[in-house]
């Protein structure tokens, strides 16, 4: 088994702790079938260096793994990684998780390069058509309300440092709710991400999105196929519950234009 990136430096006060869904991502991306698919999609000697973007990185464990195991996953090491998260602490954590994992796994070079972690809402600051591999482990739990997005000011380290104990508790709970609360059907945030896929993915681009059974993955895949010119397939799954896969990872990509 390929090693899981070290996240011992991460404080899980406001950041999602790597769990079953995170590990399903690692196992799916490094599976023989998926790495074969990706190596053929982004062939080393024909295609420019891929940009791999994870949205909502949390601790950074998935993006760090992808960077550090790029040889196993993509058959090449010239991978650029970029992460976004609405929580600035998660961005700081991801930067460290990614650079540490790359150092640990890719000696001597060539090495993948983590180019930055950005505080952002989903793909909002990304240049259209620039992402080759998009990874998203969403807040997928159905909840009555969807937590609002934090503002730039709420991510100001000076503000949280000045908080009282009870204000910090409320603030931590709020940021943690952003990691799991998905609103109606657990799909409100995922739906916004899906909407951005055609704009942000490159022609050769592919997205991996995790869904739980309450998200109705079959309906979601059917909807994507209905965009016209798009494929959606199950790339990985785990944990049968009452005859249903509890978690699935869906691969989404454009039909070849050739």
């Amino acid at each position: 088994m390929l090693p899981t990136p070290d996240t011992s430096h991460v404080s899980f006060d406001t950041i999602y702790e790597p769990s079953e869904d995170s590990y399903l991502f690692l196992d799916t991306l490094s599976s023989a079938s998926e790495s074969k698919w990706l190596s053929e999609r982004l062939p080393k000697n024909q295609e420019a260096s891929p940009l791999v973007v994870e949205v909502g990185t949390g601790s950074g464990v998935v993006l760090a793994f992808t960077a550090a195991q790029s040889q196993q996953i993509f058959g090449r090491r010239d991978i650029l990684t970029l992460g976004t998260d609405v929580n600035r602490n998660a961005c700081i954590a991801t930067r460290k998780t990614a650079t540490t994992a790359i150092q640990a796994e890719q000696q001597p070079s060539p090495q993948s390069i983590h180019i930055s972690s950005l505080t952002a809402d989903l793909c909002a600051p990304l240049r259209p058509g620039s992402v080759d591999v998009l990874l998203f482990n969403p807040p997928y739990v159905p909840t009555e309300d969807l937590p609002r997005l934090p503002s730039a000011a709420e991510n100001d380290p000076a503000v949280s440092e000045a908080m009282s104990r009870s204000a910090k508790f409320d603030n931590d709970s709020y940021f943690l709710s952003l990691t799991y609360a998905g609103g109606a059907d657990g799909m409100e945030t995922t739906d916004r991400l899906l909407d951005s896929i055609p704009g942000v993915l490159s022609a050769r681009g592919v997205a991996y999105v995790l869904l739980c059974k309450q998200n109705r993955p079959d309906d979601v895949m059917e909807r994507i196929r209905g965009w016209g010119g798009w494929h959606a397939e199950t790339a990985g799954s785990s944990g049968m519950q009452a005859g249903w896969e509890k978690l699935v990872i869906v691969r989404i990509w454009r039909e070849d234009s050739s």
Binding site: S109, I113, T119, R127, A152
Partner: protein
Amino acid sequence: MKVITANFVTCAVKECKTSPASFPLHFQDAELEQQELDFQPEFIRNILPRIDWEALRTISNELGFPSLPDSKPEGDALENEQTLRDLHRLLLETQVTEGKLTCGNCGHSYIVKEGIANFLLPSHLGEKYCLFVSTVFVC
């Protein structure tokens, strides 16, 4: 954030995406730090096809780097080690630790603090902000 990031980001305001003035975002008051990385000439060659050269020339000037060639290196120029080393230094070894990234279309500035750029829009502006930008500045 590494300088190469600027090649992949634009203004977070939706209405700005279609405006050519929103790319590249402009660095202001940037504080830089060099972080040594192994020189990987093959990697630089594989990155180059993805780089918007005009935008990189602009960014390089704004950050006070020596002028880049008028056109993107190709053919024999890709065998020139000094050219590749210069690009390696600018794109991958140079980190922007503090400063601002400003949209040339709507004028909004995104703050970079300790190397993390914040692209969340201010809460009191939010949706209204987009409307304001699109009506007043014609986003």
